[in-house]
């Protein structure tokens, strides 16, 4: 026993249970994704998880930190799953492995492990891939891909298809990308809209998971709502102004993992702001930047860069948005 005083009771919550619930909240979206796109995504999740655990264990050992307790917090698996769900579902196996290695080793462990990483590891991994392998990252499986499980796995591992495959469908670009290039080439918006029902359906899965996390008091409402508000703050007026030129706000909400990010990525506590006001600003900033990069930038999707940029502002945000301490009128900083 210890002679110092300490609180003698504690809420049963642990980091592991928190992370476990986050993983559980991802399940509806994953299930819908499998339903729409086939089970290739499961292989990606598996690859990412194994890579993450291996990399984390190796790094912990190198850093001289006890391996098992840190592995058990499950944060590496969360990062791995978020990456796997952000990358193209039919990308080659090496893509998810490289992205996960970078996320865990560089973005997380080199900064000192869980709690010390200034950047969202999953988004750092994603950004690395977009910058390094733009062509591969732009290839998204077509929603109506007529591939069975075996064919998907064969494609992911060997980059070949059983006889009579349809590489074209596999290498189709993401809807947002199609939209952007199409608009640049002067095509009409109406003809470009990809059939997005599958994406929309999956997005609802993320939404359900996010709502459950919020109900469980595991994520705050500020960050996700502020992010969506930031996105709509640009998408809505521009679309109202020139509907032929700018995609509808609904498309922005349902495409490109917007809701996945709102529920699971901008809510990452470690790399986000921890004050209520800071969370509003952080989320809003991510939303705005996402739209700007999506529509005016060169990358197919802007969420990762938006998140990383806002990550950089967190120390300042946290300092200047500290709530006023009880009884003190002004906050001092």
């Amino acid at each position: 026993m210890t002679a110092i005083h300490s609180t003698h009771i504690a809420k049963p919550a642990t980091v592991s249970t928190v992370m476990l619930k986050v993983l559980a909240a991802l399940l509806p979206g994953i299930a819908l994704s499998v339903y729409c796109n086939g089970i290739g995504i499961l292989l990606q999740l598996l690859l990412a998880s194994l890579t993450a655990l291996g990399a984390e264990a190796a790094m912990l050992r190198l850093r001289g930190v006890a391996v098992l307790p840190a592995l058990k917090d499950l944060s590496a698996i969360v990062t791995a799953w978020l990456l796997a769900l952000s990358l193209p579902p039919l990308g080659g196996w090496w893509m998810i492995v490289v992205a996960t290695l970078f996320a865990i080793i560089v973005a997380k462990q080199l900064y000192g492990g869980l709690g010390n990483n200034p950047f969202n590891p999953a988004m750092a991994g994603f950004a690395l891939m977009v910058v390094s392998f733009p062509a591969q990252m732009a290839q998204w499986g077509s929603p109506q891909l007529p591939l069975d499980a075996v064919a998907q796995w064969q494609w992911i591992f060997l980059h070949t298809l059983p006889a009579g495959g349809v590489p074209d469908a596999i290498s189709s670009a993401t809807p947002l990308d199609v939209l952007k290039t199409g608009l640049r080439q002067g095509q009409a918006l109406a003809g470009l809209l990809p059939s997005s029902s599958a994406q929309g359906l999956i997005a609802l899965g993320w939404l359900a998971g996010g709502l459950w996390l919020w109900q469980q008091k595991l994520i705050p409402w500020q960050t996700p709502l502020a992010m969506l508000a930031g996105l709509l703050a640009l998408a809505l007026p521009l679309w109202l102004w020139q509907p032929a030129q700018y995609a509808s706000p609904l498309l922005h909400l349902l495409q490109g993992g917007t809701l996945l990010a709102a529920a699971f990525i901008v809510t990452d506590p470690v790399s986000g702001s921890s004050t209520p006001k800071g969370r509003l600003i952080f989320g809003f900033g991510v939303g705005l930047l996402t739209y700007v990069i999506r529509v005016f930038g060169n990358f197919p999707d802007g969420i990762a860069f938006a998140v990383l940029l806002m990550n950089m502002t967190v120390p300042l945000l946290d300092q200047y948005t500290r709530p006023a301490v009880f009884g003190h009128r002004r906050e001092r900083s």
Partner: protein, 642 residues
């Protein structure tokens, strides 16, 4: 229905009050021997005014208050004083404290009790002085002397704290249920002393019987009983004031500046017993709960050995340590042989089954749960970070001292970080540094003053010598001329012998005139006295050097507490001597601790922390706990919870 306000944060831990709250208060049996610690309040320990072998009556003063923040101590029963010596003490530091050991004679023979029957005619100041003699202190845990809280009147609102928000504790609940009338009598006295316009009694709504009983008793007096939502820590003085009045009183500001004063129900009950019945504070109600078969509330004499009290509740076989106070703010008792103190509201028995040990701390994930739980809107994760990295300036900038150590943040932290321990560690480090700084300043001032004094003495001496020389010269001249005058004044032809006599007389007169009178010394002291003073100073300096050396050798912070700056030298010297004496004691205690192989710190974190650093911090935290005893002095200027 009056409007209620909310305070930020707060938590809802499982209450566990039913174990003990169902059982009526019963009297603890009279123990054969009591250890009444002299430190029964904030501030200095009381000074014993009895000697070993004295026979005392129940309620007789056995130690008088030493200084403003101290409180008088009375004999809890009649008997014989058998020792005045250091005894185990109910404090997290584990350091023994001076205590008066009283062998009870079983007669319970009272002193001649002298109530203040005419209190409605007495002034606030008179009641204040009366309570000071009665040793009344805040019984909610802070043991702040109650008379000091009666200073300001008239007052807008008197808040009576019956919230009792910590899990497991039910002593106030039972007191309100069973002795509501006596509580209200005490409130009436307190209200009169403060000239308070209204009285609000706040009780958490998980105590319906207490609320009903108090409502029935308060109606006749015109006090309002208010049921407040159950939320920890609504029983913090400032939190309850916020709930009932909407006033948010920041740290460092006394609630009286906002026209509010807050007393615990048990404290006003004690005030009532003192004023209406002439009974000093010699007993209190203690909740015995946790891993016990017979949870109970007992009325026990101050000084009753805690293990005897505990036995009444039949602790489980697998019991481990015992906590004094509640599970959130209480501390683990270092030694159950200690006597009950006025602060002891609850003995909570821990067992591995009921209180599973906390898993090892993990890294902070900045989830912000602690910030949402903090009742004073601090950013506990930032404070934790600053405390861990010993960035104390930053911690103070982040208002570390607004932290009321409620433990809400530690309770919710999913990484299981013992956050409050870090804050206590940081606070005591800052206090220690402050004491060092003050001591250094004091030493510098003294040195400069001494230099100045030496210079002045030298100058004065030179002046005196010069004066003497001048006077001697003047004397010579004067006597010669006087003699000459006399001689010339003598009539020619007069007796030469007569002339000689006259001349001698004149010389004597001149000498008398010229002789330096004692009053003419610049500082008005005669030489002998001055020499004595110089000698005393030299002795004092030598003593001080010796004391400093002793301190330096023992590694004790070479400093008196800041409060001592206004004390006279003698007191200062005695404090220093006491500190020097305490140092070896502390070293011994540390050694004992080390020898017994106790991990002096929270469970080692296996997360991404540098282990060596962690170990260093933990060691420092253990030291901090020991040093806290000294720091209590510094805390005394805080307005405590009632």
């Amino acid at each position: 229905m009056m409007p209620l306000f909310d305070f930020p944060g707060g938590i809802h831990p499982p209450e566990h009050k039913a174990h003990s709250s169902a059982v009526p208060i019963r009297l603890a049996p009279l123990p054969p021997q009591l250890h009444v610690a002299l430190r029964q309040s904030m501030g200095n320990a009381a000074r014993p005014c009895v000697a070993v072998g004295d026979r005392v009556a129940k309620g007789q003063l056995i130690a008088s208050a030493d200084g403003r923040l101290s409180a008088a101590v009375h004999a809890p029963t009649s008997g014989v004083i058998s020792a005045i010596a250091p005894q185990p003490f109910a404090h997290p530091s584990g350091l023994p404290e001076l205590a008066i050991t009283l062998d009870s004679d079983g007669e319970e023979r009272w002193i001649d009790r002298q109530p203040l029957h005419d209190w409605p005619q007495r002034s606030g100041a008179e009641i204040r002085d009366f309570l000071a003699q009665m040793g009344i202190v805040g019984l909610g845990g802070a043991v702040f002397p109650s008379h000091l809280k009666l200073g300001v009147s008239p007052l807008e609102t008197l808040v009576i704290n019956g919230a009792e928000c910590e899990p497991y504790i039910s002593c106030d609940d039972r007191l309100m249920r069973e002795r509501a009338d006596a509580i209200c009598d005490g409130i009436a006295v307190t209200r009169h002393a403060l000239q308070a316009r209204q009285v609000l009694i706040g009780i958490e709504d998980n105590k319906p019987q207490a609320i009903a009983a108090m409502q029935a008793a308060a109606a006749a007096h015109g006090f309002s009983v208010v049921a407040v939502p159950t939320k920890y820590p609504s029983g913090g003085a400032k939190q309850l004031i916020r709930i009932l009045t909407g006033k948010a009183i920041p740290h460092g500001v006394r609630s009286t500046e906002h026209g509010v004063q807050c007393f615990n129900v048990a404290t006003v009950y004690a005030i009532g017993r003192a004023v209406l019945h002439g009974e000093p504070l010699i007993s209190r109600i203690v909740t015995l709960t946790g891993a016990v078969d017979a949870a109970a509330n007992v009325e026990a004499l101050i000084g009753t050995p805690l293990d005897r009290l505990l036995a009444l509740a039949q602790p489980h076989r697998d019991r481990k340590e015992v906590v004094m106070g509640g599970p959130l703010m209480g501390f683990t008792l270092p030694d159950l042989a200690a006597g009950l103190t006025k602060a002891g509201n609850c003995l909570l028995v821990k067992s591995p089954a009921l209180f599973p040990p906390r898993p090892p701390a993990q890294a902070c994930i900045r989830c912000g749960d602690c910030a949402s739980a903090c009742p004073v809107s601090l950013q506990p994760m930032d404070l934790f970070w600053f405390a861990k990295s010993k960035n104390f300036d930053k911690a103070q900038q982040w208002q570390l001292f607004d932290c009321i150590e409620c433990g809400a943040c530690s309770y919710v932290c999913p990484s299981q970080i013992p956050l409050v321990d870090y804050y206590r560690f940081a606070k005591s480090e800052i206090w220690a540094a402050e004491r060092d700084k003050n001591a250094a300043n004091l030493a510098r001032q003294r040195h400069e003053f001494r230099q100045m004094r030496l210079q002045r003495d030298k100058a004065e001496k030179a002046q005196r010598l010069a004066d003497k020389a001048a006077q001697a010269a003047a004397r010579q001249t004067a006597s010669h001329s006087a003699a000459a005058n006399v001689a010339t004044n003598v009539a020619p032809g007069a007796d030469p012998k007569q002339a000689a006599i006259a001349a001698a007389m004149a010389r004597a007169a001149a000498q008398r005139e010229a002789a330096p009178l004692p009053e003419q010394h610049s500082n008005g002291l005669n030489d002998a006295k001055q020499a004595a003073i110089a000698a005393a100073m030299a002795r004092a300096a030598a003593r001080k050097t010796a004391a400093d050396e002793a301190k330096a050798a023992s590694g004790q912070p070479p400093a008196p507490p800041p409060a001592s700056s206004g004390l006279d030298d003698a007191k200062q010297a005695s404090i220093e001597a006491a500190m020097a004496r305490a140092a070896p004691r502390k070293a011994a205690a540390d050694e004992a601790k080390a020898a017994s192989g106790q991990p002096p710190a929270p469970p080692p974190s296996s997360s991404g922390l540098d282990d060596a650093k962690q170990a260093a911090i933990e060691a420092a935290m253990a030291r901090a706990a020991a040093r806290k005893a000294a720091a209590d002095q510094a805390r005394a200027n805080q307005q405590p919870d009632s």
